[in-house]
Each structure stands twice: as C-alpha cells, then as structure tokens.
Symmetry: C2
C-alpha cells in the first residue's frame, strides 16, 4: 500500500440546521476541506451516511454530493456502517488511494437528522441493531447501551456518578470548539440529577443528535509535499473489525472485541503502542462506551476504564486525552458524520490548530468510530512526520 496523507479538512457546526438542506450541509464541509487542501478537484468522492434514506428520503448520496459540489463524471459512492459510516467511508477512500487507482479522494461524513424529531429518529437509529432479534423485542438503541452499562456497574462495582468525569471532560473541552453543539460546563451534581432515559443512562450520559458534516482530502504522501508552515498528517494505521450484530450473541458483552482487534491491527500498522498515543478521539455515544473503548484499546484493565476519568487521566494534560473537542457527548453526534469529525479533530490536534483545547506537543493521534453497540469498529492512527 502507498502511504497516504491528509491534505485538507473541513467541518460544519453541529446543530439543528433546519435552514440548511442535506445538500448544503455536506457541501459546506466538502468545500471547506477542498479549500483547506488548496485543490478544486479530486479523483473520487466517498460519502459516509447512515440515515438519509429513512430521514431525508434520499439514497445514492455519493452521486448526489458529487453533483452538488461539481465533481461531474468522477467516481462517487456511499458507505454505510451505522454510526461507524464516517470512518468506514474514510477507510474505503484510503484503500482506493493506497491501491494506486486514485491519486486523490474527498471523504465526507454527513447527517441531517433533526428535522424529524422524536420517534422517527429513534426508530431510524434502531436499524443499527438486529431487526429480527433485538428491535423486534422493543428495545431501542439507548436501551441496549443501558443494559450494557447496568451489567458493567454490577460486575465491577461502579456507581453511576463514577462515569461523570467522561461527560464533564467532554463538555469542558467543547467550550473551546466553535463547531460543537453544546457549550456549557456541567457538574457531578447536574450529571447525577439529569433526566433518566433508560436506566442507568440519563440525559448527560448520552450524546445529542445533530445535523452536521465533516470532510477530508487525502492524497498519496509521495506525490504531495507538505504545505509550508503546516505539519503533514499521515494515515499511519487503519483497521476495521466486527463483532456480532446483536449484543446478546456475545460471549462477553462488556468487552469490545472489535475495538481490541481493530486497535491491535492499527497499532501494528503504525508501529506504535497505546502509550505512544497523544490524543484519542473515541466514540462516547454513551458514557459507558468511553470506559469500554479505553479498556479494549489498552489504556486500562478490564473494568477499570472508569478510573481513568476519576484519576483525571483523560483531560487535555492527562495521560490519554480523550474527547478533546467535545467528543460525541458535547460536540454532538450526527451519526454518519461522527467518524469524519473524529478524523478532522485528530488532524487538527496534530497540526496544533486547536487553541484552548490543544494537546501540547501532540504527534500521534487515534480515532475510533463505532457502528451499532460495538458491532462495527474502525480505528485510525494518524501521525505527523
């Protein structure tokens, strides 16, 4: 495989963007990434999206966006892996450029999901779970995560308040990120008293949905020199792994085996170990997922991921800074776009463009995107030269 570099990135603010269409949201991120890369043309477009057929009545998003942004005649395709769609699209683009078939690719993760509020979106999100054996029983996606969190608390003896640092850290970091949906600090007291959604998951354990798009332009590293004054970010490791789609089919529902497998391969490909990672954008759709990801990726022992929050190891100056731009919890979770927000954020950290939320001296970063309740997990390791 050819070495691939990230030449440009772009993102929109995550919000309820009722005044903008799906086209406009994805197009905005695409144009910003092309502008940042200093190019006006790419060989192909890869779009990550989960919900547009259900929520926007639109399929074929690859061509839809290629048309909108003027990439006529170029290759375009959509990739879907539930909430892991963004990173899955990035990996598909990566393979096509690494193979030598393409000399550049634009990847856009996009989701517009707030125009249909409430039940419709909850039902649409449940299509990530097993329709026959989970959803048919009436469980929602939050409900599945609640079952996992409850079991984790029981097995390892944690209290609900022990998860507070994950949400508090994410909210604190989002204040420094203009693209984040939420910009308010929260306390342990607020965390404990927020509205219950599916016991033990309450409102402040859960990430908010939103409309948004994030994008990147990738090129073969050998063909493009670094832009003067800017560190060049290389895709050093990339891997995707799966678990059973239904949570009940797993031998151990408290271990994200697909996170373990994909991280292991991505570390090996990049020639790094967990202790080399300076910044980690993980998939905190629910606070329990932060703990499980940290454990599966080698940052904590089984059942001890929560301790990293309590020990302040996850903050910007901690041992393993996570959710440095707000994470899913406070940046927001436009599901099919999230994986690309993570790639964009790690890129910005490695370029040292994050202002108040900059991890000082960051040189190696990791992004981990999860589809379903741990069913599809993609891990990317980025490095500056």
């Amino acid at each position: 495989m050819r070495q691939v570099a990230i030449l440009g990135v772009g993102q929109t603010k995550i919000d309820e963007q009722w005044e903008k269409s799906l086209r406009e949201i994805g197009g905005e991120a695409a144009f910003l990434a092309l502008q940042d890369a200093g190019v006006d043309k790419v060989d192909a477009l890869f779009v990550g999206n989960m919900l547009s057929p259900l929520v926007d009545g639109q399929n074929q998003l690859g061509t839809y966006f290629a048309d909108w942004i003027g990439l006529w005649n170029q290759e375009a395709v959509k990739i879907e892996a539930a909430c892991g769609s963004g990173a899955a699209a990035f990996r598909a683009g990566l393979m096509a450029v690494a193979s030598g078939e393409l000399d550049s690719a634009l990847i856009v993760g996009v989701e517009k999901m707030t125009d249909k509020a409430g039940h419709d979106v909850t039902a649409a999100l449940a299509t990530a779970a097993d329709a026959d054996y989970e959803v048919e029983q009436g469980v929602s996606f939050v409900g599945l995560n609640a079952l996992i969190m409850r079991r984790y608390m029981h097995e390892f003896g944690w209290q609900h308040a022990d998860f507070a640092p994950f949400s508090i850290n994410a909210h604190a970091n989002a204040i420094g990120n203009p693209f984040a949906r939420l910009h308010d600090r929260i306390t342990v007291d607020q965390f404990e008293k927020s509205a219950m959604i599916a016991t033990p998951i309450n409102l402040l354990d859960a990430s908010p949905i939103g409309d948004g798009a994030a994008a990147a332009v990738i090129v073969p590293a050998e063909k493009v020199a670094a832009i003067p004054g800017r560190s060049r970010v290389l895709v050093a490791g990339s891997s995707s792994a799966t678990d059973t789609i239904a949570v009940h089919s797993r031998k151990d529902p408290l271990f994200l085996s697909a996170a373990y497998e994909s991280a292991k391969k991505a570390y090996a490909m990049a020639g790094v170990n967990p202790e080399d990672i300076n910044v980690f954008e993980l998939h905190d759709a629910f606070s329990i997922m932060s703990a499980l990801s940290l454990e599966a990726c080698g940052f904590a022992e089984r059942g001890q991921g929560v301790r990293l929050g309590l020990d302040n190891a996850i903050s910007l100056k901690g041992r393993i800074p996570i959710c440095t731009r707000g994470g899913l919890k406070a940046r927001g979770h436009p599901v099919g776009a999230t994986g690309m927000y993570q790639i964009v954020e790690v890129t910005q950290q490695l370029r040292h463009e994050c202002g108040a939320t900059q991890v000082v001296g960051a040189r190696i970063g990791m992004a981990q995107n999860i589809g379903g309740s741990g069913a599809t997990i993609l891990t990317h390791v980025l490095k500056v030269e």
Copy 2:
C-alpha cells in the same frame, strides 16, 4: 494495483422469497461463493444493498452478514449506490485487495424487496432520484425512464415495437438460466399489448423486482493458482463514473455520459476495445436503457442502439450478446444485488459454464451496472487468461 482474480461465485434464484429472511438470502449466495472458491474464510466482506433500511428495517448489513456467515472479527461494510450498489461493493472490495491491505474479499449483492408490495417499494426506489427536485414533483423512477424513452423515440424516429427485441432476447435467454425469475418466451405482439405503466414504458419494457443475492470471492491473482480444469477469471478493468443525479440537469438526457466515461476507463485499463467484448451484461432495467448503454459503450452510433436488437446483433450468436442469462428484464432486478448477478454471469460465461446460453468461445466479458437514471455507472471488464 495488484491484479485480482475471481476465485468463486454464487447466486440464489431470484423470486418472491417470502419463506426466507434477508439473512438467509444473502447467506445462501455467500456460502455458495465460498464453496465454489474452495475457501471457508476471507479477510473481509463487502455488501451491496440499496433498500434494507427502508424495506427490511435493517442497516449495517456488512456486519449483519459477517455475523450470520461466521466472519467474526473480520472487516465488513455496506456500499450503496442505488441500483448500482452491487458493482460498487465489488469495486470497493477490488480496491482493498488490489491495495495489498487484504488478501481476499467476499462481495455479496443482496436485496429482499417483495415482502412489502406496491407503493412502499415504489417510494423506496424513488430515493435513487433527487428527493428535492424530482421526487417532490411526484415523478416515480419508472416515470423518469418513460420521459427519457419518449424523448429518444421522438428524436431518433423509433416506434415502441422497435424496442421489442431487447425484451424478447432477455426472456429467451432466461429460459436457460435456473436462477432467473421469469421463464417464458414473449412475442412482439405480447410486447406491444402488455399493460401500460408510464407511457411509453409498458410492463414488458420493465424489469421485475425480486428477492435475491449474488456473491463472489476475489483474491490477488499472484497468490492463487487456477483451480484445475477451470479458467481463471481476472478483473482486467474497473471504473466508476457519475452524472448529475437529476435527469433534467443533463445537457443531453439521451446520452449516458457516466457509461461512456466508465467504459472508456475500463477498456483502457483492460487494454481492449468494444469489438473485443464477447459478452456484455448491461443494465436493462427498462428497454430504453439497453439502447443507451450500447450507444455509450461504443457498440452503436447515437440513436442507433435499437438497431442492434432489430439486426439480431444482441443474441447469443450475434456481434455483441447481451442479457445472456436473462438480463434484468427476465432474470429479475433485486436492485442492490443486480450488479453482483452481472459479475457472476460474466464469470460463468468466461468459464464456459452457461449450457444452453453459453456464448461460444467467450474470453472477454463486460458488466455494466447503473444506479439511478444513469447517475452512477460502474463498468467491469473480465478476462480469462
């Protein structure tokens, strides 16, 4: 890029398979392809599907099928490009194997769409068109093709009956294909008298929907010797191109520019010309699309694709045999699966396994899969060594 070979193929009969779930249909084709390839494991799974979120309430089909067929921990992803999803999944798998990242991949195109009859499926298929500027006006997918066909007849002076040979040829060939949905010969008289759907498209201009799946196992050619007694099929050319998503945005709605572009690149990559193609599985979702594909791919002048049917050039012994296993018209069109049926059929022609519908001496074949009304077009050229 590494040269890639097709090691095994499999397919289910296309039908109203109410007694089988989505899982079972895709799984059946996957197992048949693995069995045909003589392997029980692959590095990754690529699934092509368009409608499962809308019609089956299931997303994340990559992991869903990886789980069902026992590829736990392996990479899996779903690709969607409307009715071009099958070939788009094939091309994504091809890039990943060609890049050196994977040493094998299983690609499955699958669709289960007949359990929800009538309006639901028509509305779901319309998500391939432009939701804002086409579907919002009330036009269906058949309606868009009807407008194109009517304009073609007007511009080039053809009568409706002149399209009959496309449907007659497809029906005749399907009789020799046990996997085809329809097994009845039709006449010009039947063609002319069949029920009108959207003037001038009648029932026998249109392909029937269906439930079905088709699959292939691909590997680097350098790593796998030919299976004794069987020609080894190589993926010699692969390309994908797009046009505007809305038909009204095109300078010339009667020219499939994405077919022209993708065929041109696939020919160049394979080092062949149109006259070298021995068998061509094209995307005859409607009879007008056969004419337009033949023209864009260099088999006929503009407006003269219909003449190839009238001159009997499209039959098994003609200059450019098309729809040799029934085409979309008589094999059936399980939309996200169709591109993989085409790949499987060309493979079987090049292996000389097609019995009564064998194109004698076939050594080079082409498959062309279309998403939307010509919006996303993928062309693959296969060769035997």
